[in-house]
């Protein structure tokens, strides 16, 4: 997958958004090239949606600025609106209207000429296999069907940049796969630039050319998934996965105290430990045993984006996943790519 053409589609200059005393987006400077799929990765509340709201002119920045396709998001908001499409986390659809009526309404709001619009509606409905359901009301659709319409709704205006806020949230595995295919197709076949927010590591890894890791309103790292993952290894750090039997809740904290451990994050029975170098592996195991933990499995793994996040923020993304249980379990099955490198016991 070739990254973008080199022409910037989005450039932000220390863009910020403050709500009273809470800073949702804190001096973010990113650039996204034309034809790129860019992922904004971070837990809920990290500032992903606020950043997108500003870039789509729905919200005014309180500091800094940004350009979309060369247009200033505040001064040239009308031009920006012509360029961008939005797939929001809350689906933009009227339940009482049919799929076609919804799409037509938005086509009209973008002043797409009638004949062109009708042809495009047929085309888009065909792409997502919804032709058969085109004249049914949205309220009768399943979540997966709704999301397909929600995605093509953003394409009615032929945007050159599409923002997708959690596009696979709450979908079944098949719909998830279909939406991901569609996202790739849009970029590959039509050259549409796509900015995607997700808190699903695998999704970002699979789809994105480049990723910006966002935490507490700040971009803490930005690169291709490969380089991000390699980056934390090159510095010599290694990821150790420990499966423990009935560990205490502070197991992670206690492992962090061991010399040579950079960070440790616990999710139920599993503790991920990032160590300075491979020598630390022995120390971690000894430390665990000394603490009285019963080890069921220990492995050194290739770093995942999750580890990248842990490395840069010192926290696990899973900590926050508890807030949205519906999205954590269903539909996001990990790719088979990340296998443990070495196995002990």
């Amino acid at each position: 997958m070739a990254a973008g053409s080199g022409e910037p589609m989005i450039q932000t200059f220390e863009i910020s958004k403050k709500f009273d005393d809470f800073t949702a987006v804190d001096k973010v400077s990113i650039h996204v090239d034309q034809g790129e799929i860019y992922g904004l990765l971070g837990p809920n509340g990290a500032g992903k949606s606020t950043l997108i709201r500003m870039l789509t002119t729905l919200s005014m920045p309180t500091g800094g600025t940004a350009t979309i396709d060369g247009y200033d998001i505040v001064k040239d908001s009308d031009q920006v609106r012509e360029v961008v499409g939005l797939v929001s986390e809350k689906m933009i659809m009227y339940d009482k209207l049919t799929a076609r009526e919804n799409l037509r309404l938005f086509g009209k709001l973008y002043s797409v000429p009638k004949a062109e619009l009708e042809a495009r509606l047929d085309e888009l409905l065909a792409i997502v296999n919804m032709t058969k359901w085109a004249d049914e009301r949205i309220e009768k659709f399943s979540t997966g069907m709704k999301q397909r319409i929600n995605v093509i709704r953003a394409l009615v205006s032929m945007p050159r940049l599409v923002f997708m806020d959690e596009p696979t949230l709450g979908l079944d595995p098949q719909s998830t796969a279909e939406i991901r295919d569609l996202i790739r197709k849009l970029r590959d076949e039509q050259g549409i630039t796509i900015v995607l927010t997700t808190h699903i590591m695998n999704e970002a890894d699979l789809l994105c050319d480049r990723i910006g890791v966002i935490d507490r309103g700040k971009i803490v790292a930005q690169d291709s998934p490969m380089k991000l993952k390699a980056g934390i290894v090159e510095k010599g750090s290694t990821v150790v996965n420990l499966d423990l039997e009935h560990p205490p809740i502070d197991a992670g904290e206690r492992l962090k105290a061991i010399e040579g451990v950079l960070s440790a994050a616990q999710t139920e029975n599993n503790v991920k430990v990032i160590i300075q170098n491979e020598d630390g592996f022995q120390q971690v195991l000894e430390g665990a045993i000394k603490n009285g933990f019963k080890i069921r499995n220990a492995s050194v793994a290739l770093p995942t984006l999750e580890d990248v996040f842990l490395h840069y923020t010192g926290r696990s993304m899973d900590d926050k996943l508890v807030e949205k249980p519906s999205s954590a379990g269903r539909g996001h099955h990990g790719p088979p790519g990340m296998r443990p490198r070495g196995r002990i016991r």
Partner: protein, 436 residues
Amino acid sequence: MIAMTDEKGNEAIEGTVEAPTTKKVPPNPRAARKAGPVNIRKTLSHSLWIAHKDLLEFSRNRVMLVMLFVFPLLMMVMTGYIFPSGNNVKDMPVAIVNLDNYNNTGHAGPESLMVYSGVKMANDHSHFFILKNISSESDAKDEIKHGNEMGALIIASNFTNNIKTYGQGSVTVLYDQSNPTISAEITAILDQIVTQIATQRAVMAVNHTTGFSINISKAIVTPYTIQNKGTVPGNPSYFQFLAPGMMMMVVMMGAMSGLPRAIAYEKDTGTLDGVLVAPTSRFSIILGKVIAQTVRAVIQGFVVLLLAVVLFGVTIHGSLLLVVIMLLIGTFSFIGLGIMITSVASDESTASTFMMVLQFPMLFLSGVLFPIQQMPWYMQAVAKVMPLTYAAQAMRKIITLGAGIQDIMTELVILIVFGVVLMAISIPLFKKAMTK
């Protein structure tokens, strides 16, 4: 950069020298089509599509369609029947106490018996009261206190004797202070009956003493005749008063609450973002919503009118076209308030609270349910700053009195001024609220 100058004429001069932005690729060809008159057409087209969408949603919402009929029906039935309106009062328990002691015989004399039987006869015909004989004034008071009787008619002990000696006979009406409305009814009816009996008694006396015929005697006793006549045929009825005001009230509620509710709902569900992110002016959005609400308000107004005519016997004396015009102008005068609430309230529940605070006083003080002339002066002053007062008044003139447009000019001008002022305040507020 030629395309830039096409888009925004006023930026042409600066734009020709150097591009105001870092833009290098030619802009979207669709953007270039935005020139002056096209912009107006576009705004209008966008707003009509938004209105179309809103009405489509409304027509497919079964609950809303049913409520369109149920709400006005409930309001009419409730307000129409809970307030006493004179001809509805029947069978009120009233005591009658004849204390007349003719020449100390311990019996009632002929004069008091005449009053007594006169009241009974009048009541046999009209059934205003259920009359009960009670022997003493204190017993009558007790009965009222216990709630068994609602009033009493007391004929004084020297009634016949006084009249026989060319004095006046005295009749007292006791009433129940805890129930002022009913008391007022009872005293008024009894007063009327006793006056009638007294007149008959006087006619007979004149006839007896002068020998004139009954008719001449009657002319001497009551030299004037009074006739009550309306400007249009038919008897005055409370529904005839209520229905026009109710129409305007339903329109007001629709205009004021429908708009904030529609926008707050779209905000909550997220669909508003889709509209805001499109290159559609804020004005098209509000205009589209206003058009949809207006169409809805006119339909609602006619539902009220239809119910009033079919179920409550209201007659329309004015022109239907004028009714429509009045509905439209009424909506126009209220819609600014709706836009204002929309801009100030961030979510649906805040919007509802605002509406309650604004609508309740209007409902009771605008003369929809009771005439404002019944209120004390300071309340009348409050009523006079409410657009609903004028809207209801004008609609009543059209429907009940058959007024033409020249008869309601004052109200129309006031309503239009209300509308213009409120719009001028609310539209900038709305635009600001939408780009937070």
